[in-house]
């Protein structure tokens, strides 16, 4: 059986599944239960300064986006950092870490952008014996209005400065958690690296309003008739997060910087995908909030089965494996030509491919009197929309034209050589192919 043991920044955990800093990791009771359920590590819910803790709203903290059958696709939240006393949290962290030496315990932190504030809290965290810290530069609601969270994460200079303080006053690994509420995630990641960060974790939640109550005209979640944007998370945000992860994995300045992947990890497959894009582990919240801590059992068994099937003996075997295949549009092979093929034996004649293609694409599917749907190769640009909307898996597939055959759409012979936009004759900035 595959070995799921993960070494992230020298922090060992029995599997790559950590619970993200969030409501599930707010206290000892939860974290112990999570470890008993099999989670490899936790990032303890963000601690703030000593003194009176923050207060939370006393109405709904979460909004939701459903799929059919009330499947939770995305949740947003307006909960702040821990609203429990700093010292209570620190004592609990110390106890839990002592009892679970084989699990990763990371402490998430958010204090004001002043050196003294960090200098004060870091020795207290160091004393807990926790394996590292994660700097919460991401929360997009509430705390950002007070100059913390995403307000720091949106200013690379602040990220670099605070990271540097943390490296100065704390001896263990420092992970910088990035906000997606920026235009180019590479800049804050590079700033974190310049500041000495051992790793970045991303994404934190996305600014969002999940819905508007059309009777009260209030955004949800609504507190006494008013709403505010919350932080969006769950399966819906995974594509956004994976793109950001891939950007950091590919960027010259941040290449090789360890990444903890966060955003919609719900199954073993999600985790595997993040790892192939360069993550050393993943963090999970919404799946646990939706299904409970037990959900990790499927992640463990599934990843293990897949690794066995593929012959991977460790996480490192496939970490970053998809990074070399992630590129810019301009480098995609324009000589690769495919056509949709409909398997008539599998077709159930729903006509969704036809509607999609006829109304919104290239009129490349023909429909007969008896509801037989067939691809018109002379029109098909291989856009894949028919595949995407077909309810039957593998009924429609994209088949590449062999080099030497003629594309009936263009009348041109398919070339076997790779050629991209940078050398294309239509590109005014093209450089001649050597």
């Amino acid at each position: 059986m595959a070995d799921l043991t993960t070494d992230f920044l020298g922090i060992k955990s029995p599997n790559p599944f950590w619970l993200a800093s969030a409501p599930p990791t707010d206290k000892e009771y939860n974290v112990r239960r999570a470890f008993e359920a099999g989670w490899g590590g936790v990032v303890w819910k963000t601690l703030g300064e000593a003194g009176p803790p923050v207060v939370n709203v006393n109405g709904p903290r979460y909004g939701v986006i459903y799929g059919a059958d009330r499947r939770v696709l995305g949740i947003n939240n307006i909960e702040l950092i821990t609203d429990r006393d700093l010292y209570t949290n620190l004592e609990e962290i110390k106890r839990v870490k002592a009892d679970y030496p084989d699990r990763a315990v990371i402490v998430s932190l958010m204090v004001p952008c002043e050196e003294q504030a960090w200098k004060d809290i870091l020795p207290l965290v160091e004393d807990t014996g926790a394996d590292g810290i994660e700097l919460n530069f991401g929360c997009p609601h509430g705390m950002s209005e007070r100059g913390m969270g995403a307000a720091v994460g949106q200013v690379p200079e602040y990220i670099e400065m605070v990271t540097r303080w943390c490296k100065k006053y704390y001896s263990r690994p420092v992970i910088v958690k990035l906000t997606p509420n920026i235009t180019d995630v590479r800049q804050p990641a590079a700033a974190a690296k310049r500041g000495g960060a051992d790793a970045v974790s991303l994404i934190n939640t996305i600014n969002s309003i999940t819905s508007v109550n059309l009777d009260t005209m209030s955004p949800e979640p609504s507190i006494d008739g008013k709403g505010t944007h919350g932080g969006y998370c769950g399966p819906a945000v995974k594509p956004i997060a994976m793109s950001m992860v891939s950007e950091i994995s590919r960027f010259e300045e941040t290449k090789g910087l360890p990444i903890s992947g966060i955003g919609g990890v719900t199954t073993w497959r999600d985790a595997a995908e993040y790892i192939t894009l360069g993550c050393g582990n993943v963090q999970v919240c919404t799946a646990a909030m939706t299904y409970g801590f037990k959900i990790v059992q499927e992640m463990i068994s599934g990843l293990s089965q897949w690794m066995d099937e593929k012959g991977h003996t460790s996480i490192a075997d496939f970490m970053g494996a998809a990074v070399p295949n992630t590129t810019d549009w301009q480098y995609l092979n324009l000589n690769y030509i495919a056509k949709a093929v409909i398997n008539q034996d599998d077709c159930i004649s729903c006509g969704r491919c036809y509607a999609a293609c006829e109304d919104t694409s290239h009129q490349a599917i023909a429909m007969s009197e008896d509801r037989t749907f067939s691809v018109i190769d002379a029109e098909c640009v291989a856009c894949n929309l028919c595949v995407d909307v077909c309810p039957v898996e593998d009924c429609i597939t994209m088949v590449a034209l062999a080099p030497g055959t003629t594309d009936p759409r263009t009348g041109k012979v398919v070339q076997k050589e790779y050629a991209n936009w940078t050398t294309h004759p239509n590109n005014p900035a093209a450089t001649a192919a050597e």
Partner: protein
Amino acid sequence: MNTPFTPGIAAERLANADLQENFADLHAPLDRHEAAVAADRCYFCHDAPCITACPTDIDIPLFIRQIATGTPDAAAKTIFDMNILGGMCARVCPTEDLCEQACVRELAEGKPVEIGRLQRFATDIVMAKGVMPFTRAAPTGKKIAVVGAGPAGLSCAHRLAMLGNDVTVYDAQPKAGGLNEYGIAAYKTTDDFAAREVDWLVSIGGIEIKTGMALGAELKIDDLVGCFAAVFLSVGLGGVNALSVDGDTKAGVVDAVSFIRDLRQASDLAALPVGRNVVVIGGGMTAVDAAVQSKLLGAQQVTIAYRRGRDGMSASRYEQDLAASFGVNLMFNVQPKAIHGNGSVAEIELEYTSVENGKLTGTGETIRIAADQVFRAIGQTLTSDGALMLDGRKIAVTGAGRTSRDLVWAGGDCASGGDDLTVTAVAEGRDAAIDIHNTLNGGT
């Protein structure tokens, strides 16, 4: 060639092609897409009611999620962890009374997650690969006898072998499998599934099966206790309750279990004789299996005659409806009064019943219906060698199958406690194995 209208008991009532179709898989297996859709309906309930309802405590939400995420092998492992006969149970469990009845979607929509079919989907995949997902622990050097190679015995043997013990399994019949092999309707376990499952199960190693060895004949408990470190009895219920009415010795009055056994072992279904008018006395699964299969063999009229009301039947409503869907008549509140006929049965006389002061009594009113063949399906009895204390008509057990005698355990239908279900037998065999292992090896 005969037809359903041919009088008396006759073979070849239906053409071979019809018989093949009639005895094909009752529920076709789910394909991958169907399984994905079915799995998607599971809510992954906390402390799920379906698990509580499963006698073997399979982690149903977990295995369904493993199917949903495209890892049916992991799903099968989850099933087999608790129930090594998960393949057969997926086919024969009365899920409508167990996990699927408890499913919260049954409560919400009257349409539970199809747990049984999903279980079959996952277990079929692993068994088709011939993969045994378990290995044996270090040898303990202990040898244990299991008497009876039915679900309880096989489950016990597998767990004992897995824990590092060597097991000899004895069975009175020529083939292992017990009721899985001899006692379940053919259309629930097609393509020799029971035999294939036994082969797969013993592939873990350390299990030797010796057939044609019956307790009370070739085997004595005293001898076994002398030769083995422990003994597990899972002999089932070998005897059949008698009808005890006038005429019950006439030709054509037979045990339903014999009919089912002959049918399961038949290489040519057309050669099996069946009555034109068949009456099955009883209200359990054996009665339903005998009645439905009579119909499928080509009997013209088949009636289940049960002495109490519908609710009293131990066959589930689902099974009753299944029988009705094949054209079996269900008669309630009737008990056999006499069997008429000149040498062979020709008619059965039934007396209506009512319950008075909690006691079932005949009303005196009778009805006669045509019958060329009468099946007794009114329960089975233990045939024991008398060395153990009984609880009622079964071997008395406490805890995980401990009998009145040291180093002798019992489970399955022959032991007291639990329903007489395949899945219950599997659970009892498994738990006894763990208790035997811990007792012999000083574990907890």
